[in-house]
Symmetry: C3
């Protein structure tokens, strides 16, 4: 049973997603397709990259992830076929895959039109190239037939890195989830390096560090380790993005005792 996932900025409810699925199922009718999300902010390559990093590792070996946040569609940007940690990724070379690609990744360039749709729209490579390539891969066509060696350096995004100094960490919000929780770039491991009673500072207030949402008083602003292992700021039974008017890049500080 082959598994293909889709991550795009096409918008919730977009019928463009169905066009990609129709094309995939025309080539590989037996495949299971899972939507990761289609709610990536339009053209936000960074947000798409973070979603892939947060989500794809739970999928089984052999899963094929198709990612389409592609403001450069129709230009000369390459389309990559990446194999890393037992999974495949197909997407544009614009940084979208760069947070899942490590040193061990095998990176190839998709360049064999005989596996694409016959007529390529310059605005919809998700349907016309990436979907078909993923479907052929699901059918057992080897990467060496679908793509060639990629000899350039792929475009890389870098997440802002927190600084650790004087028993304190200075990080920032990098992603906001569907509950309005604010996910930071501060890892569990780095929080553990801070000694003494921990205090979190966000937007001029001191925020309690808890283990579960339910520990806090309803409506309290809290910090906790989220389900992917990053520190996050939340409001118990509430929406932190709205209530705190928070945005990505807002600074977050962890201070030891």
């Amino acid at each position: 049973m082959a598994l293909i996932t889709l991550t795009t900025d096409f918008g919730i409810g977009s019928s463009y997603v169905a066009e990609v699925k129709g094309e995939i199922l025309s080539i590989a009718p037996q495949v299971t397709i899972v939507d990761i999300t289609h709610a990536v902010a339009p053209q936000s390559v960074m947000q798409g990259a973070i979603v892939l990093k947060q989500t794809t590792s739970v999928f089984p070996d052999g899963t094929i992830h198709v990612a389409v946040v592609d403001p450069g569609v129709g230009t000369k940007r390459s389309i990559l076929l990446v194999y890393v940690n037992g999974q495949y990724f197909v997407g544009p070379d614009n940084g979208l895959l760069s947070l899942v690609v490590g040193a061990a990744a095998k990176i190839r360039e998709v360049d064999r039109p005989e596996f694409w749709r016959p007529n390529i729209s310059p605005t919809f490579h998700g349907r016309d190239i990436m979907g078909p390539v993923a479907a052929h891969l699901a059918n057992g066509v080897s990467p060496s037939r679908l793509s060639s060696a990629f000899t350039k350096q792929p475009v890389a995004l870098t997440l802002p890195q927190p600084t650790v100094e004087n028993n304190a960490i200075d990080g920032e919000v990098v992603y906001i989830d569907s509950f309005g929780n604010l996910i930071t770039n501060i890892s569990t491991a780095s929080v553990r390096q801070v000694t003494g009673p921990i205090r979190i500072e966000f937007k001029g207030r001191s925020v309690d560090f808890v283990s579960t949402y339910a520990e806090a008083t309803r409506g309290a602003t809290i910090a906790l380790i989220g389900s992917s292992g990053w520190l996050e700021i939340a409001i118990s039974s509430g929406n932190a993005r709205e209530t705190l008017k928070a945005e990505t890049a807002d600074p977050v500080r962890v201070v030891g005792g």
Copy 2:
């Protein structure tokens, strides 16, 4: 062909849903997964319970329904595995399953970590416990291996009950659907007990009782028996929630002749 459904408050477009699916498909690749909805209002256990009650009975015998509206995640609340009317339900013991659980239900407690994800996040038991348990159940692992006898009384929600008196029914709006139609707690059977010409009163106005949306003048406020057998208030070709500024708990009165 095993079938697993998902009902959550994760939000439309949330990639957390995909994490649950990835975990399920890692364990049970052959399963079919159907989304019931992810648009339950955040932490609204009652709304989730009503959706399950309205929706799950159309699914075939053996379907496994995973329900995650779980404000107490990470606390000592139990996770239930329920078998009732030929179907399975996995969800927190907070009332979410209580409108589908009747006297005939077999209720067990999920307590065997060997069937869970190795590292349990205190904030995401949908992915780490409930999804995997459902997947193992789909693979044919018996409830007796996945869970133990549940000896406590499960948490129960009760829908407000209408009163029937003097050839009239006093009920209320309990749920608002995606069209803005106002679904009440007044059943077909109780409407039939009212004799003479029927008049519906809502928000100070008298509302026509019709059989189909199309019978009414465009824009008219109407009452009819909805597709699950409950009286509902609607606006023909319109949105009753918005136009009438209606909310759950708004009173609805059925008066006989």
Copy 3:
């Protein structure tokens, strides 16, 4: 592997969609179901018809498309079973299928209650009639057992047609996609008939005609041939519907040199 698609105005996140799926999977458990969209504007038969026309051709032969935008549900309007271009369509006779139905279509009327749900709600024929009929068709029950000859003329919608005169085309916006791009009724073929340098006029401004979104300056209003072969107006890295306050029926003019 049978494939059924769903196109409705039930709304994103609506659990009514899941009721249709539960009914289908009760009859045909092995079927693959793909959502085309559930975001058709409520009761907008024309919008649903355009989505079907834009989307369904990418699906493989034998696909069964169920379409439910059905303001006349429960009245005497017929339900059609159409076979055209190797695919099946099931939907109400209100024009919804009329943009995919050509002269070669075989049109039949769904009228065999033995293949429906036992109790038909007057408000939900998608779940009670159309879903079950599609599922039985997927199971190999022949159209001649599910339906009868349709002897009337089906309801037809007509897209507004552009006029071509004096080396210029006068068309209009007929559909707005999930990015806010404005899709017109002007085809690639008709644009090619205009000679000399092409200029596009929209809302009193002159709009550049480009090949890809990326060619334009960020924020520029552009016109290009979209992925289904129709001229569309867009804003590079933006939302044309919002920024230009555009609506369907807004006029668009293509002028030659």
